[in-house]
């Protein structure tokens, strides 16, 4: 019996067998794709080293969760769901598309394992997938082309709008879905029309089923044309798309798997200046940080390739929200544009030029508070903090540091604190008469020892207002029966921000001095109330005893019964907890402070819309207090407004820097008398049953 329709393998047009095209299209397509990929890999080979082959179980877990299960996608509901549909559709249809390529050469080809029942199930699945993808593409195109969500817009200074490329690709994907359906539907329609004995079953309601209904109106010869034409439209579109991917933001279709596999698996730390160079060998390095494109690590370049331009990072970025000249999305996009320009597909590579003053500005790179909101959000595991810090290291090495930051850095070098206050006054807060009578504090500088070391850090040691937090912390510890001492003048700034502002060697000095002092103190545990100190001691220092934040200590003492809390002194007030970045996002500490607050009987607590891992940075701590950014408003002001919207009139935080920023913001935003900010330790200390 003659086949109902002639296959692409056997068909001829004007005497030319089409099987030639079935061979040529994939061969040419793969050749071009290989060539493009070789060019794209070139800069990665010249890049700085990056160690990303550790922690394999974690990496595989990330692949399952973040890549395969698209875990972060639904954080933006509609876009996320549309993406999941398209992503799963792609996974399912990749099998069909691959076998279609072979079918052009050998009509009876069946992918191994897809013969019997599995093949039937798969066919239904891929028809559903294709239908879903087409619908998702249409919704996505309308959304991007008509509704134009704000986060996709491109400010003028960052170049042209990207909507055209996005809609074009949605069109390409739709064309793939339609041509695949028409290829199959034309065959089934022909079967139906010739009254064939066995007609392939098509699931009603799917794209291919609708296509078949439509094609039943066509003559047999027209169906033959549709069959062949749709095959080659699919074939050409498929290979065109493959070669188009590495040319723009859709490169993520290829790179996302690797980018998620190699994404960071640790939190709260900064990459070493150069992988493979230990701290004691840093002096031997010729240059520090990222000054030119090739100074980025290969993973950071892969990040640039992978950015899908979804704008979620910048939508969450507090610096972007207050109009600072920083938008993380465009850190990636500008670097990718630079890379594509300097490593073109055709023509020779262009000599690299300095990034600062070129694609990036100094203020742009200093604008980041390292809050981590961008990285927390990125569905593709792109990193920003390490890149920002590497760029800052490069600027510090070249002397490009704003005057506003030079003073505190110099003071840190000379006095171990950014204000340049005398070392001997570091413990002065303990000598306040009234306080000292109630709560004597042991001093390691005087040779006293204790089981626990309370690491106070600079701001809580020297700032008049923040000394209240040190006193409250000390009182809590002593009321809970915890034996503790402070280092006093032996303590230096923890250096969390010194490292993050790119002054690595100064950080190393501070770290070494603190490490020696802490180890010599003989303490078995470190407790701090400053999340920045907590972060750096826990995640970046080495060889120290266990480090705990005061919120963890309090939560535990409440459970153990060593701390008992009185009824809330202001039960009419509504409290909200502001997650400090270095406690929450960088260290996953969300529950302990909330549990402790909820343990105060009668306290009403609400969460702001942006809370936990979506918490909004108050304006930044450490050296960020000294930086004078260009901005339209303050981050703290926006944060206080968020608390107001949540109906709160007391913002509780657990970080001295948050408190500085929030207290200032309350005044600036005109909420004095309506909203107050208070630290966790102050609130707990007031409520402890003595």
């Amino acid at each position: 019996m003659d086949p109902i329709l002639v296959s692409p393998q056997s068909f001829s047009v004007l005497g030319i067998p089409t099987v030639i095209f079935s061979l040529l299209i994939p061969v040419i397509g793969v050749a071009i794709f290989t060539f493009i990929m070789a060019k794209r890999i070139a800069p990665l080979v010249k890049a700085a080293p990056d160690y990303r082959f550790d922690n394999l179980p974690n990496r595989l877990f990330n692949i399952l969760k973040i890549w395969l299960m698209q875990w972060r996608q639904p954080r933006y509901r509609l876009a996320g769901i549309l993406h999941i549909v398209i992503f799963i559709g792609f996974l399912i249809l990749s099998i069909r598309s691959t076998s279609l390529v072979v079918i052009g050469l050998s009509n009876d080809f069946v992918l191994p394992g897809f013969g019997g029942c599995i093949g039937d199930i798969y066919n239904i699945l891929k028809d559903i997938a294709a239908t879903g993808v087409l619908i998702a593409c249409i919704i996505a195109a309308v959304r991007r082309g008509v509704y134009k969500p704000a986060r996709y817009s491109v400010p003028e200074k960052y170049g042209h709008d990207h909507t055209a490329e996005a809609v074009f690709v949605l069109g390409i994907i739709s064309l793939l879905m339609l041509s695949e359906s028409f290829f199959e539907a034309s065959f089934v329609a022909a079967q139906v029309k010739t009254g064939a004995f066995e007609v392939a079953h098509l699931m009603p309601g799917t794209l291919v089923w609708f296509s078949k209904l439509f094609l039943l109106n066509f003559s047999q010869s027209s169906l033959q044309t549709v069959h062949i034409l749709s095959y080659y439209v699919h074939d050409i579109t498929f290979f065109f798309f493959l070669c188009f991917l590495p040319l723009g933001k859709h490169f993520h279709v290829i790179t996302s798997f690797f980018n998620v596999l190699f994404m960071r698996t640790k939190k709260g730390n900064i990459k070493p200046v150069m992988y493979g160079v230990t701290d004691d060998k840093l002096d031997e390095l010729e240059s520090f940080g990222v000054k030119k494109f090739e100074d980025f690590t290969w993973k950071h370049m892969l990040d640039f390739y992978t950015c899908a331009d979804c704008g979620r990072c910048s939508d969450q970025c507090p610096a972007n929200a207050v109009g600072r000249p920083l938008s993380p999305r465009f850190i990636s996009i500008k670097a990718r544009d630079y890379c594509f320009e300097h490593y073109p597909i055709r023509g020779s590579f262009i000599k690299s030029e300095p990034l600062i003053g070129g694609i990036f500005s100094e203020d742009e790179i200093w604008s980041c508070t390292t809050c981590g909101a961008c990285e927390q959000e990125c569905p593709l595991g792109i990193e920003y903090i390490d890149k920002i810090v590497d760029l800052r290291r490069g600027m510090v090495d070249e002397g490009m540091v704003p005057q506003s930051l030079q003073k505190p850095l110099k003071a840190l070098e000379k006095r171990g604190n950014p204000w340049g206050k005398m070392e001997k006054k570091r413990s002065e807060w303990t000598k306040d008469k009234e306080f000292a009578a109630e709560c004597p504090v042991k001093l390691v500088e005087k040779g006293e020892t204790a089981e626990n070391l309370y690491f106070v850090d600079s701001i809580s040691s020297y700032d008049d207002r923040m000394q209240d937090l040190s006193k409250a912390t000390a009182k809590i510890l002593s009321l809970a029966g915890i034996d503790f001492a402070i280092l006093g003048k032996l303590e230096k700034d923890s250096g969390n921000e010194v490292k993050r502002f790119g002054e690595e060697m100064l950080y190393q000095d501070l770290k070494d001095q603190n490490t020696t002092a802490i180890i010599e103190s003989g303490a078995k545990k470190i407790i701090t109330a400053d999340p920045h100190a907590f972060n750096v001691l826990k995640n970046e220092y080495s060889g120290l005893p266990e480090v705990e934040h005061i919120t963890q200590v309090v939560a535990r003492c409440i459970k153990e019964g060593t701390i008992k809390l009185d009824t809330c002194e202001d039960p009419e007030k509504v409290y909200t907890y502001h997650d400090p970045c270095y406690l929450g996002r960088h260290n996953n500490l969300y529950e302990d402070p909330r549990e402790a607050l909820d343990a105060i009987p009668g306290l009403t607590r609400v969460d702001m819309e942006k809370s936990r891992d979506r918490s909004f940075c108050c304006g930044g701590g450490g050296l960020m207090l000294f930086y004078e950014p260009e901005e339209e408003t303050r981050m703290g002001v926006l944060r206080v407004e968020m608390a107001n919207e949540a109906g709160a009139n007391v913002i509780v935080t657990a970080c001295p820097f948050c408190l500085v920023n929030l207290e200032d913001a309350i005044k600036v935003a005109g909420f004095e008398g309506k909203i107050e900010a208070i630290d966790f330790v102050e609130l707990i200390e007031r409520h402890i049953v003595r």
Binding site: L282, A411, R415, E503, L506
Partner: protein, 262 residues
């Protein structure tokens, strides 16, 4: 262009609590941290920028002091100065302004400089060394310079004058300029930069190396002697107004009216 910049090691006012000692002879120097005089740092940055823009030449930083002063020379060399020169001799101790200028003049005579920069003043606030040095060298001088444009054999220098106004002058080289802060944005010097120049050799010159008569400088040659330091007694003219903003404004207006201010 060969540039000499005169620098001084001073207690850093932003990182110290300055107190007069009990005898009134000096400030308390225990627990002080020192750095390069702020004005001098601007002068060094300016010199480095001039040489960078010219593409040729060198910057030498010179200071008078003991071994500890070497630290600030290294810091300025980490910034980009090519050479350091330490003028050190027991005979230099307790020089007055003229003594300092005499020592610096001897150092200038040993070299061949097109331009000599000093800071406008140091922590003592006398602002005298630049002018004296120029006079001794018989070179043209401009003080409080906050702008320098390089011409062929001439400089165009801007000076800050009363009321924030700007004065522009042509000045021929070689010359001496005392530099005002704000002329540029001095670059940052990190610990890494200082370590890089930690082992660079810095020549030391004594009074005899410089051919200076020891009796003309130092305590022996000083014609100006510091007699006393003291903190002025607090006056009792201050009155703190208290109350809400409106109340304070009300009281202030009353006070101004009562005292003929309005």
């Amino acid at each position: 262009m060969e540039i000499l910049v005169c620098v001084k090691r001073v207690p850093d006012t932003s990182e110290n609590e300055i107190e007069v000692n009990s005898s009134g002879s000096d400030i308390e120097r225990d627990d002080l941290v020192y750095s390069v005089n702020e004005w001098d740092n601007y002068a060094v940055e300016e010199a480095i920028q001039i040489v960078e823009n010219a593409g040729s030449g060198s910057v030498t930083v010179v200071t008078i002091g003991d071994d500890e002063s070497e630290e600030i020379l290294r810091r300025e060399m980490a910034m980009g100065a090519n050479n350091g020169l330490l003028l050190s001799d027991d005979a230099f101790e307790n020089s007055d302004g003229k003594g300092i200028a005499t020592i610096l003049k001897a150092a200038v005579d040993k070299g061949n400089y097109d331009l000599i920069l000093t800071g406008a003043q140091a922590e003592g606030g006398a602002a005298q060394v630049g002018g004296m040095l120029a006079a001794m060298l018989d070179l043209p001088y401009a003080s409080l310079v906050n702008k320098i444009d390089i011409g062929d054999s001439k400089l165009k220098v801007g000076r800050e004058i009363e009321g924030g106004n700007q004065e522009m002058n042509d000045i021929s080289m070689p010359c001496v300029l005392s530099i005002q802060t704000g002329i540029n944005e001095p670059r940052y010097v990190g610990i890494r930069g200082i370590r890089k120049v930690a082992s660079v050799d810095i020549p030391v010159m004594s009074a005899s190396d410089l051919g200076i008569d020891a009796s003309a400088v130092g305590e022996a040659g000083a014609k100006v002697k510091r007699v006393d330091y003291f903190v002025p007694d607090l006056g009792d003219g201050a009155e703190m107004l208290e109350g809400s903003t409106e109340e304070i404004i009300g009281k202030l207006i009353e006070l101004l009216k009562a005292n003929g201010g309005l």
